[in-house]
């Protein structure tokens, strides 16, 4: 798959000396949904702001659809739509006026039929003559999406698009994002809701303290880094794990009935058969068992925490 955004050796050091981004190299594929995850202050918004031209990079280069964002900024920016994290709207303007303004600003001739289509898709058509300050938070978020889409961008940046949005609207937005992807729009989203990335993204990048620590296909990431846990329920409670089972690093629940065994899905021999045999030898009778897979959230937390740990 060809890439639509190429980020090479991007650094950003603020005047205060704070190094927000450290040698970022990243390719975003054409037509994909890419989720950029990271804790607060990791550099997600700074990176997006540099790509969109709002913040100057200290070093490095970026191209969007083959155009350098500095030298060919007109072509590059005309391909990009941005929905920022903050609800920043022209409070005293109508929905229609502000969306028309956005289209013109991005160098496109007026096209009321297209704007009508967008507003209808976002359930904003009924509110087109309403002043933005009269709208709810969720509706304002939709207005910002409509503004970002008004010039038919090839690449859409969604910076925390569903922050503070109710569940129903969040689902609607996910639907809309998928529709846009179907239409060929490349979507880069940052989110605090790991569930959102898990639900929508094709690929996931994790950024922490200004460095990209991982970029991976979501499915591959889940299978590669995801662990499975087997919970074995015993017939009778035990006080301690028998020493003969130490090699399995089992965890015992506080009531002494459940034993947890974590195993790697990638390994051919996951050790379950041997564990069950050893349980039998240790005269522990199994009543029931079930397995569960770690979520993207668990993977993310593990990645960020291991990156935070000092090298030994």
């Amino acid at each position: 798959m060809s890439s639509i955004i190429n980020i090479r050796d991007i650094n950003k050091t603020y005047r205060s000396g704070f190094e927000a981004l450290k040698c970022i190299n990243l390719d975003i594929n054409r037509g994909e949904i890419f989720a950029l995850l990271g804790p607060n202050g990791a550099g997600k918004t700074t990176l997006i702001s540099i790509i969109c031209g709002i913040v100057n990079a200290s070093a490095g280069s970026i191209s969007a659809d083959g155009f350098d964002i500095e030298k060919d900024y007109r072509q590059a920016r005309s391909k990009i739509g941005l929905v920022p994290q903050e609800l920043t709207t022209d409070a005293f303007e109508t929905v229609w006026a502000t969306v028309r303004f956005s289209r013109g600003l991005f160098g496109k001739a007026a096209n009321d039929a297209y704007l009508e289509k967008i507003l209808k898709q976002l359930s904003l058509w009924e509110k087109k003559d309403a002043k933005i300050r009269e709208l709810s938070g969720g509706m304002k978020r939709r207005v910002m999406i409509a503004k970002a889409l008004s010039h038919q961008p090839l690449i859409l940046f969604l910076d925390e698009p569903t922050a503070g949005v109710d569940v129903e609207l969040r689902r609607d937005m996910w639907e809309m994002v998928r529709d846009l992807r179907e239409q060929g729009v490349t979507i880069v989203l940052t989110t605090h809701y790991i569930e959102e990335a898990e639900e929508m993204a094709d690929r996931i990048g994790v950024i922490n303290k200004g460095s990209i620590i991982l970029v991976e296909e979501k499915c591959e990431l889940m299978s590669k880094l995801g662990q499975k846990t087997l919970v074995i329920q015993l017939q009778s409670a035990i006080a301690n794990i028998p020493t003969s089972l130490e090699q399995y690093s089992l965890e015992l629940s506080s009531d002494g009935y459940d034993v947890k065994y974590r195993y790697d899905m990638q390994q051919d021999d996951n050790g379950i058969a041997a564990l069950l045999a050893d349980l039998n030898l240790a005269k522990l009778q199994v009543k029931d068992f079930h397995s569960s897979q770690s979520s993207l959230e668990d993977i993310f937390v593990n990645l960020v925490h291991s990156a935070d740990k000092p090298a030994t």
């Binding site: 969109c52 709002i54 100057n56 920016r77 600003l105």
Partner: protein
Amino acid sequence: MNWYGVKAIYFFEMARAWHTLMQSIASPVLSTSLYFVVFGSAIGSRMGEIDNISYGAFIIPGLVMLSLLSQSISNASFGIFFPKFSGTIYEVLSAPVSPFEIALGYVGAAASKSIILGLITLLTARIFVDYSIAHPFWMLIFLILTSVTFSLFGFMIGIWADDFQKLQIIPLMIVTPLTFLGGAFYSITMLPEPWQSITLFNPVVYLISGFRWSFYDVADVNIVLCIAMTLTFLALCLGGIYWIFKTGYRLKS
């Protein structure tokens, strides 16, 4: 050139003036009219002529200039400050518009509003005082040059200001005193030395003097010098705007 972008900014700003008609047009016209009533009709009728011009007519160019300067600065500074304050500036900065086009849109709209306001003020003055315009072409040139120059100046103030107090401080503490002391209500030849020489360092003197010359063919300062000073100030403002966008001062981190 992204003409659609320039047009979008220009008409968006002009529409904002239309939404706030009372504040944008009615309020400055009313306050200038009060000057005409008080200084032109009431006090002016008891004052002698200056350069063979009735006092009421003499102060018209100065009052129009006073209104023009304050409105140009206020329109342009607020035009760019408000998106910064509300955060919507992100859209302008991320759009395929050059710094020149951004300035053209905002400054063009601010200058247009000031010119319209200046012309309305002139028409309103006619209700109270009889006056003539000796050089209509140059009157329009001064009107446009001053509006554009001070809109550029206001645009810079709007970018520099990071709170509402800073937005007001230069217009109120510097521009208004300079205008009042720049011969809006008197001829600078009426000042004793050394004030007459000191006042020549006030750039507004040249704007008012040149504008008054276009009305009555009399000026405190040589008209060529007036035009040269106006163009110099315009060039300085253009240079300032160029530097702001080149460095991203107070716009980009």
